[in-house]
């Protein structure tokens, strides 16, 4: 997952493998095109997370190939052509799995870090 290196020293780079989870989570709210997903991730994270937009598309492509999201061309709110992605039922399941995995991971890492501090 490449991230932007220049500027924005205060922003967090994405951890390996977390982009998939973020995309799936974003699409729970309804179908969205790539630019919308990028915007949503940035805004929902209070501009803390930095997603290089270019990295988004191979990830979307991968998720689509795995059958977790589906895509079709449509028109955006301001009448622009865009490719819209929506979550499939397999995608819903995957999201649940990934979310619980993520929660366990952060909890475990959190515990380790706290014990280090103590």
């Amino acid at each position: 997952m490449s991230t932007q290196r220049e500027n924005d020293p205060g922003r967090l780079e994405l951890l390996q493998g977390t982009l998939d989870l973020l995309i799936l989570r974003t699409l729970v709210l309804g179908s969205q095109h790539g630019q919308g997903i990028a915007r949503a991730i940035q805004q929902t994270s209070d501009e803390e997370l930095l997603v290089e937009h270019g990295a988004l598309y191979p990830a979307l492509q991968r998720l689509e190939e795995r059958g977790w999201i589906s895509a079709k061309w449509g028109t955006s709110a301001n009448n622009r052509k865009a490719r819209f992605y929506s979550l499939t039922s397999a995608g819903h399941k995957q999201l649940a799995k990934e979310t619980s995995k993520w929660n366990r991971l952060t909890a475990a890492i959190g515990r380790i870090l706290e014990s280090e501090e103590a």
């Binding site: 490449s2 932007q4 095109h33 790539g34 630019q35 919308g36 990028a38 915007r39 290089e52 937009h53 270019g54 990295a55 598309y57 191979p58 492509q61 991968r62 190939e65 059958g67 955006s76 301001n78 622009r80 052509k81 865009a82 490719r83």
Partner: protein
């Protein structure tokens, strides 16, 4: 799942459209926030990152880029190799030769030791042997008991070889001598062989004597004599004048259960009376020639099976105390050498050594190719530098090099496999002994192909790895600026070490092939006790012509008389088997006259036994030391007599003089008087040690199948036709086989000849590799030091000094390697002694020959580089640089 497979692939253009749409959306958003279109464009692109990179990632996700690059590498490698064809051809041929050597040696080993018979699940097939002497014949009734009472085998079958006059005409005319297996009805079922054509006979076809007049043809006999005619099945043939119906053909890969001997046909054992005129089906005590073979049941160990058989043996011993003694058994794999453990071990050791040598040859070839590759890498340093400078990674360059190496190694592997399979096919179809259907069916199987591929790939990696360091150390800046830099390393390089090993290997091979050839020549000139020159051997089977028992001796006498009417014939005699041929010889237990209990343990000696007619010793030129030869009066009515050799006389009676007129006993109690003593000789083969031998008059100890020995200085072709016409006068239905005794001798020296030949071939290969190896090293050294040598010459160095400077290291390696190789070769010759009689390295001629050969190798290899070194023109060189 399926949707994913069948879904139409998304095009790169579609993906690109999406990226453009994203950028436009983004720009629009920034414009809405009040930025200028230019600013919006910049922001959108900055947030996106590289569009090209994203598109590349999309491409990579759809294609197997590794394969893509590989394909490019392969195409580029092929182009590069096409541009330097001499390099490619030299490399491929070298490798092909080395791989072929390995494949051939491995195939032979595979055929001899791993799968001698090419049977399904061969590891579970065992022969039943007598534990006492590892002999194999069992009587038929004992076999039936073993077959029916054992719990350990999925079936026990028998087989025995028989030579038969086979006639395809209805009236049994013009029979030819053919070799068949008499087998039990369950033979094919136990071995799990399926018919190629028609059907096989089964145990259920056996209903007592002569009840199953069927034969099954071997594939090669059907192929050669019936020209693949499927209608052959169902036809009737005559075996020794009795009608038999062809019911099937065995598959081509089946060669019976005797290694090296291919049967023409298979006939039921139960018909023995019809086929041979006698049968051993009822006699329990007589050890007939049945070999018992069985397939061990799954889960039964050989030890359990042996115990099972021995309990049956104990039962037989108790039930038939008169016929069955010492009924202890052991089981063994069939193996290529029968019960001849010495030959098996000798050959195993020899083949093991050959495998090692072939492996070393491959290693030597890899070393040569490695040098070639690294020399090429040095020549291509500019290309490498340019590629590195243009942004190629070193790994990518190395991959290119390895692709070239692999391409060459695969081509070499394919060629090696092809040439070795040609050689093996020739070997499989080769009949080294014309008399018998002897052949070594060397079937390359999956193991062999896998080995060839593996060897090719491994060697490709090996020699491809040699220039790795050169590539890694390439400094693009330096190379492009100043051309290739010749760095000289002071210490011994891996290449030099390999070359030394290679030269040593060559010397080992040359030494051992010289030793083998010298041993062969010497054993040919040994006192054989017989003189095989000008003697024609004619195998005349009385049986096939219908003569039995008491009819035989008068006919044999008439034949001898007929031979004497041929002009130029000096002597003619019968023997049951001629010495020094593959048929030789049977032995008998000999007891002193005082021995009362005639058990094998009490035997004084085992003597090689011949049954001969008078004049035999004249034909063979064997010197009579004392006493007399046989006469026609030594017949059934006269007391039993024998002529023995010197060693026999000494061992049994103490001396030649005390032997004359004394008696000894045979195992059946017959008392025989010694009437003559002859000189010692060789009997089984020219390479054997001294043996005791006994000659019995053929009139007193008749033999149906006997050889006629006719001595005449006439041309062998003319003599053969004269003998044939005389034989026809006596009886036109005789089946006779002709060969000169010298031809017969060749069969018995087969092993030694093969050994000398294979060593010679490997020796030549080793020499070629050494020459090219030294040549490569020397000429590389000359080109690298061209400038230095030129300066030396300009400063007044004499040509001797220049040559020494240029070639000194190579010559040093040659000396050192040769010395080591000679030493190792002498040690290795001990293995040879097991196969080639009289093979000894302690022979000044061998030593001189090896030194000469290695000197020749050195001269050949350094001649051209030396000329090149001398041809250096200092003025030219200095102007060039």
């Amino acid at each position: 799942m399926f949707g994913r497979i069948f879904r139409r692939k998304r095009s790169a253009a579609d993906f690109g459209d999406e990226l453009q749409a994203h950028i436009r959306l983004e720009e629009e958003r920034w414009c809405e926030q009040g930025l200028s279109p230019e600013e919006a464009h910049t922001r959108a692109h900055r947030a996106f990152g590289s569009v090209t990179h994203t598109q590349e990632r999309f491409y990579e996700s759809r294609h197997w880029v590794f394969l893509d690059q590989l394909w490019n590498d392969v195409r580029y490698a092929a182009r590069v190799l096409r541009k330097s064809p001499s390099f490619a051809i030299a490399a491929i041929l070298t490798l092909a030769m080395a791989i072929a050597a390995n494949v051939v040696v491995f195939s032979v080993t595979n055929a001899l030791f791993l799968r001698p018979l090419n049977l399904p699940d061969e590891q579970r097939i065992y022969l039943v042997e007598h534990a006492a002497d590892r002999s194999r014949p069992h009587s038929y009734p004992n076999y039936v008991d073993l077959r029916d009472r054992n719990q350990s085998f999925d079936g026990l079958a028998t087989f025995g070889v028989v030579g038969v006059g086979l006639s395809t005409s209805q009236n049994g005319q013009s029979p030819t001598l053919n070799w068949g297996w008499e087998v039990s009805g369950n033979y094919f079922d136990v071995l799990r062989i399926r018919p190629y054509l028609g059907r096989f006979f089964h145990a259920s076809d056996e209903h007592g004597r002569n009840s199953a007049p069927y034969i099954v043809l071997s594939y090669s006999y059907w192929h050669n004599h019936f020209r693949d005619d499927p209608d052959a099945v169902g036809r009737s043939v005559r075996l020794n004048k009795h009608p038999f119906t062809i019911i099937g053909v065995t598959p081509p890969e089946f060669h019976g259960t005797v290694p090296f001997v291919a049967a023409d046909f298979y006939a039921p054992q139960i018909d023995q009376q019809d086929i041979e005129g006698v049968n051993n089906l009822e006699a329990r005590g007589v050890g007939s020639v049945q070999v018992v073979v069985g397939r061990l049941k799954a889960g039964v160990t050989p030890a359990q099976a042996t115990a099972d058989l021995n309990s049956i043996g104990a039962y037989l011993q108790k039930t038939y105390p008169n016929d069955d003694q010492e009924m202890a058994f052991t089981i063994e794999h069939i193996g290529a050498f029968g019960s001849d453990q010495d030959a098996a071990q000798g050959t195993e050791a020899f083949l093991g050594a050959l495998m090692l040598l072939a492996g070393l040859i491959l290693l030597a070839a890899c070393a040569n190719l490695g040098s070639l590759f690294s020399a090429r890498a040095a020549d291509r340093s500019r290309e490498i530098a340019v590629r590195l400078a243009l942004g190629s990674s070193r790994a990518r360059v190395l991959r290119q090099f390895f692709t070239e190496a692999t391409l060459i190694s695969l081509a070499g592997g394919v060629m090696g496999l092809w040439s070795s399979s040609v050689l093996l096919q020739w070997l499989s179809g080769w009949h080294p002994v014309p008399r018998y259907p002897v052949q070594a069916a060397v079937n390359p199987d999956f193991n062999v192909y896998a080995l060839a591929l593996l060897l090719a790939l491994v060697s490709g990696l090996l020699f491809g790895a040699v220039p790795v360091r050169q590539v890694l150390e390439t400094n693009p800046y330096g190379v492009i600026k100043s051309g290739s830099t010749g760095k000289t390393r002071g210490r011994i390089t891996v290449r030099e070490l390999l070359l030394t090993v290679q030269i040593a290997l060559c010397a080992v091979l040359v030494t051992s092939s010289f030793v083998a050839v010298r041993g062969l020549i010497r054993s040919m000139h040994n006192s054989l006790g017989v003189d095989p020159r000008n003697v024609m051997l004619v195998d005349v089977d009385m049986n096939t012509a219908g003569y039995r028992g008491a009819d035989v001796p008068p006919v044999q006498k008439r034949v001898i008389e007929a031979m004497h009417t041929i002009p130029g014939v000096q002597a003619a005699a019968w023997t049951n088997v001629p010495p020094l041929t593959l048929d030789c010889c049977a032995t008998s237990q000999i007891f002193t006259d005082q021995t009362a209990n005639l058990t094998p343990a009490n035997a004084a000696i085992r003597a090689t036994t011949f049954r001969v007619s008078l004049e035999y010793f004249q034909v063979t030129h064997t010197a009579l030391l004392s006493g007399r030869e046989f006469t026609w009066n030594d017949d059934k009515t006269a007391p039993r007599v024998a002529v023995v050799n010197q060693r026999f006389a000494r061992r049994v009676f103490g001396s030649v003089n005390s032997a004359l007129g004394s008696d000894f006993k045979l195992g059946d109690g017959t008392r025989i008087q010694v009437v003559g003593v002859i000189e010692d000789g060789k009997y089984g083969s020219t390479t054997e040690g001294p043996h005791e031998a006994m000659f019995l008059p053929i009139l007193q100890a008749p033999s149906d199948d006997a050889w006629l020995l006719v001595q005449s200085p006439r041309d062998s072709q003319q003599l053969a036709s004269a003998i044939r016409s005389k034989l026809n006068d006596v009886d036109p239905s005789f089946v006779a086989f002709f060969q000169t005794w010298n031809q017969g001798l060749e069969g018995s020296a087969f092993g030694a000849r093969m050994a000398a030949m294979s060593l010679g071939v490997l020796g030549i290969m080793g020499a070629i590799l050494s020459v090219t190896g030294i040549f490569g090293m020397a000429s590389y050294a000359v080109s690298k030091r061209k400038r230095e040598l030129g300066i030396r010459m300009a400063l007044g160095a004499r040509s001797k000094e220049v040559v020494r400077a240029a070639l000194g290291p190579a010559v040093k390696l040659l000396f050192f390697g040769s010395a080591v190789g000679l030493l190792l070769g002498f040690l290795a010759s001990r293995v040879l002694a097991a196969i080639v009689y009289e093979a000894t390295p302690r022979d000044p001629l061998v030593l001189a020959g090896v030194v000469l050969a290695m000197a020749l190798v050195g001269l050949l290899a350094t001649w051209i580089p030396a000329q090149r070194a001398l041809a250096i023109d200092p003025a030219m060189l200095l102007r060039e640089e």
